[in-house]
């Protein structure tokens, strides 16, 4: 009976103030969408970092006039270096093959370059890709070395942009969350005001505090959950739209976000939406009803 009473009060409450309810749900949805998106990006960036940095190489290009002794000495030195996991020697022909593959789209360029013009190099994989600087300092003065190029520099830029997106989404999520919070507080105040007589009688005859508060708190929680469902739908829509658009071209570069990932963010969104609403409503009631 009491459950039925509480639930019907929740529905009546949401309906009585329906414009406010909708505003609350929409703000909540946008905020949670941004939060979910930011969470997904965070996870993706993590995955991609693992993947890319795993394969990242430091290329040590040799001078074209480097002697064979210098090349061998460097090779041995790298072999014994504790920072180095693996190093491969790439001679001019191999470099040329790579060059051909890389620029297969531009035959003019390929035909203009002869194998001789390409430098020999060592491709070095590090135990810890972050240790690039140490390698650089150690070998920059070695005889016969032209330049040392670190691919991770480029990756850092890519990831810089991605985490920029992520931070942006998080910032929007927080701003929208504040707006949603204020709307929840306002909605609860209006609801409490419209039921002030009932509340006064309930306090007078000794209804328990939870019984007085439950309909209001649940009202906010229901709105929060609706918001999280809408937020999830927005994420799904983004994935569907992105798959059919220019974003699809990036699929090879960025590891795709799977449906599982998207649906796994829902518990997070629902929990945040529900808990934030409930706490806001409860705090508002403590100030407003003094129960």
């Amino acid at each position: 009976m009491r459950m039925k009473y509480v639930l019907s009060e929740v529905l009546v409450g949401l309906w009585r103030n329906v414009t406010m309810t909708i505003a609350m749900i929409i703000t909540m949805a946008v905020s949670l969408f941004m939060l979910g998106g930011s969470g997904l990006l965070y996870q993706k960036v993590g995955d991609m970092k693992d993947l890319y940095y795993e394969n990242v190489e430091v290329s040590i290009f040799l001078k074209t006039d480097a002697t064979e002794e210098q090349v061998d000495a460097l090779g041995q030195q790298l072999e014994q270096d504790p920072l180095v996991r693996d190093s491969t020697y790439v001679n001019k022909e191999q470099a040329y093959e790579r060059f051909q593959q890389m620029y297969a789209d531009a035959p003019d360029l390929v035909s203009a370059v002869k194998p001789d013009q390409l430098p020999e190099s060592y491709r070095v994989k590090l135990n810890d890709p972050e240790q690039y600087k140490a390698i650089y300092d150690k070998y920059k003065a070695t005889e016969g070395i032209d330049t040392i190029v670190d691919q991770s520099k480029l990756l850092d830029k890519v990831f810089g942009v991605l985490s920029g997106f992520q931070n942006g989404a998080l910032a929007i999520a927080i701003v929208m969350a504040v707006a949603a919070l204020l709307l929840v507080a306002n909605t609860i105040q209006v609801a409490a005001y419209s039921k002030r007589r009932e509340v006064a009688v309930m306090k007078l005859v000794g209804a328990s505090n939870w019984f007085i508060q439950a309909p209001f708190v649940l009202e906010a929680v229901v709105a929060g959950l609706f918001g999280s469902i809408l937020g999830l739908l927005a994420l799904v829509a983004v994935k569907v739209l992105a798959a059919g658009s220019s974003m699809a071209a990036l699929e090879g570069l960025i590891t795709p976000i799977s449906w599982t990932d998207i649906f796994l963010t829902f518990p997070l969104m629902a929990a945040v939406g529900g808990v934030v609403s409930a706490v806001t409503a409860w705090v508002t009631l403590r100030f407003y009803l003094r129960v």
Partner: protein, 220 residues
């Protein structure tokens, strides 16, 4: 005990000591602002005294935690000058509401509410809304709501303040009848007629002090 409200220049109740026995009928009288309404608030645990103790039903409620208050209130019925009925509910629903929000089932309400409405003399008017009832009838609904849970104490804060003399007397007869069932009745009023007719214990308060405590007293 003493109760001083914040920002007040003098205590609302100053060193007042009163003992009311179970089953008594007591009037608190005195001019406006004398502190008689504070007595009701103290008994309801709406406010706590600055000094001294409040003991209700043998329990010291002075330092009762606020989360225990709801349960404590169930042993006290309340009637006010402005009735405090829910305008969108019928007489029956108003009384049933008080039962349902403290966890009684609808079945209990169906059994008990008609009984108590009959007791207060509203048999046949259960399904009227407050605006369809006279002031006296509305106050009867309020009394029914206060009494339906069979409280040990009935507090009445100027229950006849909005009623004409004849109706007031009817309400007093009702409170008297409730008192005869063993319920302690504490009534705050400045209706001299009623006090003089009832001839019950009268405690007069002036400027926060008891100036008279008289069994079978008059308004004075």
């Amino acid at each position: 005990m003493t109760k001083t409200y914040p920002k007040a220049s003098r205590p609302s109740l100053d060193n007042v000591s009163v003992s009311i026995e179970k089953g008594e009928f007591v009037f608190f009288i005195g001019p406006s602002g004398s502190g008689k309404s504070t007595i009701i608030k103290l008994l309801l645990h709406e406010v706590t005294p600055n000094k001294g103790r409040v003991v209700v039903n043998g329990k010291d409620v002075t330092s009762m935690r606020s989360w225990k208050r709801p349960h404590f209130r169930r042993s006290i019925g309340c009637v006010f000058q402005d009735f405090r009925l829910l305008p969108n509910r019928t007489a029956y629903e108003n009384v049933a509401f008080a039962l349902e929000v403290i966890g009684k089932t609808k079945a209990v309400a169906r059994r008990v509410v008609p009984e108590v409405l009959e007791l207060v003399g509203l048999g046949g008017k259960e399904h009227r809304y407050p605006h369809e009832l006279s002031g006296g009838e509305q106050q009867r609904v309020a009394v029914a709501r206060a009494f339906v849970n069979r409280p040990l104490i009935l507090l009445a804060d100027e229950p006849t303040g909005n009623l004409d003399p004849d109706t007031s007397i009817e309400i007093m007869r009702l409170l008297d009848r409730i008192n005869r069932t063993g319920t302690t009745v504490v009534m705050v009023t400045h209706d001299s007629n009623i006090v003089n007719q009832m001839r019950r214990r009268v405690i007069e308060i002036e400027s926060g002090r008891i100036v008279r405590d008289q069994a079978r007293g008059v308004y004075g």
